[in-house]
């Protein structure tokens, strides 16, 4: 049963991630007054890339070649350590919240190396920015769980979710947490105001600068990994901040999917309202997320529900 659930969870992550991406793109287009591509477009894009020729920079080495697969593996492992659809997580015995955060950090590290290994100025620029961004966003991501950690006294998923579920549904801590979660999700999924996934302006790119030298199947794997990471972050925040799920397995899965769709649409709205921040404003922006979470933690510690 556990192996089956693990396989199902992995499959869902990889199959649903492009749909979430398509949903966000479609919503953004609608909010901008455009028709935009259909929600299934990311699947077509991945299929197109998969059939294309693989071109690599002459200077690129084995790290560049291995990075897309390694990054996708990090995301997949994170999906197994997270109770995405059903509880407990398939690999729940092997990992808690910290492991998921660590896997995401590892994924970022792998991509940073890949940008450097490409041997082009844009890759180096992207890696440098990704490194800076990682140092800012990872503490903020970790801080998301702080309010529930202080009550649960640990970082295991069941305890964290129980603590979150036990807190007041519309309490101050939850709203602070949701605000922080929005900032973190926008940053981790490479969206405005931190990074612009739709830009063609090489000089402003963060994640896209690393992806710039990839082509064909390698780019497909890299893109799928990025979409998977986006969904993983959404699922992680759904578990942490909105942990209630109704009874049976089917209902649990459906409610999780609906919640992800809702949160993804929230990302689209937030992104539409933003302009990109100047790069050196990011510490203040992501620091705000950490501060909001910390305030929620203090409230929880004091017993404010």
């Amino acid at each position: 049963m556990s192996a089956l659930a693990a396989a199902a969870q992995l499959l869902v992550l990889l199959l649903v991630a492009p749909l979430a991406q398509g949903l966000i793109q479609r919503a953004k287009a609608a909010l901008q007054g455009r028709r935009g591509p259909g929600v299934l477009q990311p699947y077509f894009t991945l299929a197109k890339l998969w059939r294309r020729q693989d071109v690599r920079p002459e200077a690129a080495g084995p790290v560049f070649a291995a990075a897309p697969t390694a990054a996708l593996a990090c995301v997949a492992a994170g999906a197994l350590a997270l109770p995405m659809l059903w509880r407990p997580a398939p690999l729940g015995w092997a990992g808690d919240f910290v492991v998921v955060v660590g896997l995401l950090a590892l994924q970022r590290f792998v991509l940073t190396l890949a940008g450097l290994d490409a041997g082009t100025p844009f890759g180096g620029l992207g890696s440098s920015r990704e490194g800076t961004l990682g140092a800012l966003v990872e503490p903020a991501l970790f801080a998301l769980a702080l309010p529930w950690m202080v009550r649960a006294g640990g970082t295991a998923w069941p305890a964290l979710m129980a603590a979150s579920a036990a807190a007041a549904p519309a309490g101050v801590a939850r709203f602070l947490g949701l605000a922080a979660g929005l900032i973190v999700a926008l940053a981790e999924s490479g969206r405005l105001p931190v990074d612009n996934p739709d830009t063609h302006l090489e000089l402003t790119m963060i994640h896209e600068a690393i992806a710039l030298e990839y082509a064909g199947p390698q780019l497909a794997v890299l893109t799928l990994g990025q979409m998977g990471k986006q969904l993983l972050i959404v699922a992680l925040e759904a578990d942490l901040l909105l942990p209630w799920r109704p009874g049976g397995p089917a209902l649990q899965a459906l409610s999780a999917l609906a919640l992800w769709a809702g949160l993804s649409l929230g990302l689209a709205v937030a992104e539409t309202l933003s302009a990109k921040l100047r790069f050196f404003r990011l510490p203040a922006y992501l620091g705000a997320a950490a501060a909001l979470s910390s305030a929620a933690a203090v409230l929880q510690a004091w017993g404010v529900r």
Binding site: R34, P121, G124, L125, L203, A275, K276, L277
Partner: protein, 512 residues
């Protein structure tokens, strides 16, 4: 409203000076308040034994131009560079060195500007003995080396000429330290078309079709300047209705270009809602132009002697009504952009062009006005309907991206008001006249100039027996590109697209 009968200023009278005295003479003119407009070199080795080097200046409130003329002998094609007294000509001189082999002694930049690396040394395509379709075999010319900062931690980032988006071809070489830009060097002129060469020898009536294609963004300005230059030479008065309609066309062009440029800015900061809203408004304007003037981008509208197509009274009234409807949308767009805290945070204090640098480098158009210079040919040397209209010159002091945005937003307001007045009172009569007798065999030099959306531009035209002997087009973009090198250093490299878009200069105007 009254527009006086078009009395075009007569062709410029040139003052001949020794090449060695050009610098002092230009300095004296500047001290008297004259401002550099354009320069042109012509190959007169067959008739005069050398090259003719003209520099034209305008003076606020004076209809005539001042032209300094120097002659450079064919056997020693060199002259002291004007850059020390007139930094604005530093690209003009490099261009003339490439295209004519005329060497400006003491010019600070010995590199090629126009010619590619593999163009053979010593072959100067604008000389008369080089055929227009010459295709020399690639040879070792002078390799272009980017200039920039050096030292530990300084990284060179080459960008372009092929870009990730649909952008014209330009190469930028950045020296960066971390995220900060220390220096940027430009290499444009990647797709030079040789328009100035191809029009040589053609009758003036045919050349307009080529000249207007120099650039789609400010084609009406190009057509108006070309026509004015030709009309000066042949002594051609255009009817009041044509004067009026040309002014309408120039203001329409300003409006759609400003809309385009204002819409491009939020795209540079990832603010897609503003960009899309601007793009929608621009499209509405282009469709209005297609309906009223027969072409979305105003090609084929202005020709020597008047305008190519009349605007019937109903069409003028409809255009006026539609523009009135568009005006509200444009005001809302400006409000939305200027009121967006995130976007304005990016635009404020970013890409500052200092006033003294703008003045020294001869900045023109909204970029100059945003740095506090009241530089506007519509007022400096009013032609067409601008003498009566006396448009307000919008200036800002800060010189940053936000200032350039504000100038454009307010100039759109001014353009709407001007168009409303112009379309309300179109004088009756013909919209073009026949050329005076002998126009087909006229000879002489004419300089037409006007304020294009990006600033003042000029066409220097020489006719010989009714055929084009020389045509030099100096557009606002040519004048303003070097400003980028002054506005970008000190900013974050990620802010470059935003700064670049705030100038929104044209590559094709260099690749003419």
């Amino acid at each position: 409203m009254m527009v006086e009968q078009a009395r075009l200023p007569s062709g410029p009278a040139a003052r001949e000076v020794e090449a060695a005295d050009l610098g002092p003479a230009a300095a004296a003119l500047q001290a008297d308040g004259w401002r550099f407009l354009t320069s042109a070199v012509a190959d007169e080795r067959q008739s005069q034994g050398g090259f003719r080097l003209d520099h034209a200046f305008v003076h606020p409130g004076r209809p005539e131009l001042a032209v300094l003329r120097a002659r450079v002998p064919a056997d020693r094609p060199e002259y002291p560079s004007l850059v020390p007294v007139l930094p604005a000509v530093h690209w003009d001189e490099r261009e003339a060195r490439d295209l004519f082999g005329l060497v400006p002694l003491g010019h600070p930049d010995p590199r090629r500007l126009v010619l590619p690396d593999d163009w053979p040394a010593g072959l100067h395509p604008l000389r008369r003995d080089v055929p227009w379709d010459a295709r020399p075999a690639p040879a070792a010319g002078a390799a272009w080396a980017p200039r920039g900062a050096q030292g530990e931690g300084v990284v060179r980032i080459p960008v372009g000429p092929v870009h990730a988006g649909i952008i014209e071809s330009g190469h930028f070489s950045f020296s960066v330290m971390g995220e900060a830009v220390l220096h940027v060097d430009l290499r444009l002129f990647q797709k030079h078309r040789g328009v100035e060469k191809v029009v040589e020898g053609r009758p003036w009536a045919e050349a307009a079709d080529l000249v207007e294609r120099v650039c789609a963004a400010c084609t009406a300005s190009h057509q108006a300047a070309w026509s004015e230059a030709v009309e000066q030479i042949v002594g051609w008065d255009i009817p009041p209705r044509a004067v009026h309609l040309r002014t309408v066309l120039l203001e329409c062009e300003r409006l759609w270009n400003h809309l385009h440029d204002v819409a491009a800015l939020p795209a540079g900061a990832g603010f897609a809602v503003g960009a899309m809203e601007g793009a929608r408004l621009k499209e509405r304007m282009l469709r209005l132009q297609a309906g009223a003037f027969g072409h979305r981008y105003l090609f084929g509208t202005i020709r020597p002697g008047g305008v190519a197509r009349d605007l019937p009274a109903e069409a003028a009234a409809a255009l006026r009504r539609e523009l009135g409807a568009l005006r509200g949308g444009v005001a809302r767009l400006a409000e939305r952009l200027l009121g967006h805290p995130g976007f304005m945070d990016r635009a404020t204090g970013c890409g500052v062009l200092r006033r003294d640098i703008a003045q020294a480098l001869g900045a023109v158009g909204p970029s100059a006005r945003a740095s506090g210079l009241a530089q506007d040919l519509r007022v400096l040397r009013p032609s067409l309907g601008y003498r009566a209209l006396a448009p307000q010159v919008v200036t800002e002091a800060a010189g940053d991206v936000a200032a350039r945005l504000r100038v454009r937003c307010r100039e759109m307001e001014v353009a709407f008001a001007l168009l409303d007045r112009l379309l309300h009172a179109l004088p009756p009569g013909p919209c073009r006249t026949d050329p005076p007798t002998g126009a087909g065999r006229a000879s002489g030099i004419g300089i037409g100039c006007n304020e294009s959306p990006r600033g003042g531009g000029a066409h220097y035209v020489e006719l010989l027996e009714g055929r084009v002997a020389r045509c030099r087009i100096r557009s606002a973009s040519f004048a303003n590109w070097p400003l980028l090198g002054a506005a970008v250093p000190g900013n974050l490299i990620g802010d470059f697209p935003l700064i670049n878009k705030s100038f929104e200069l044209c590559y094709a105007c260099c690749d003419r």
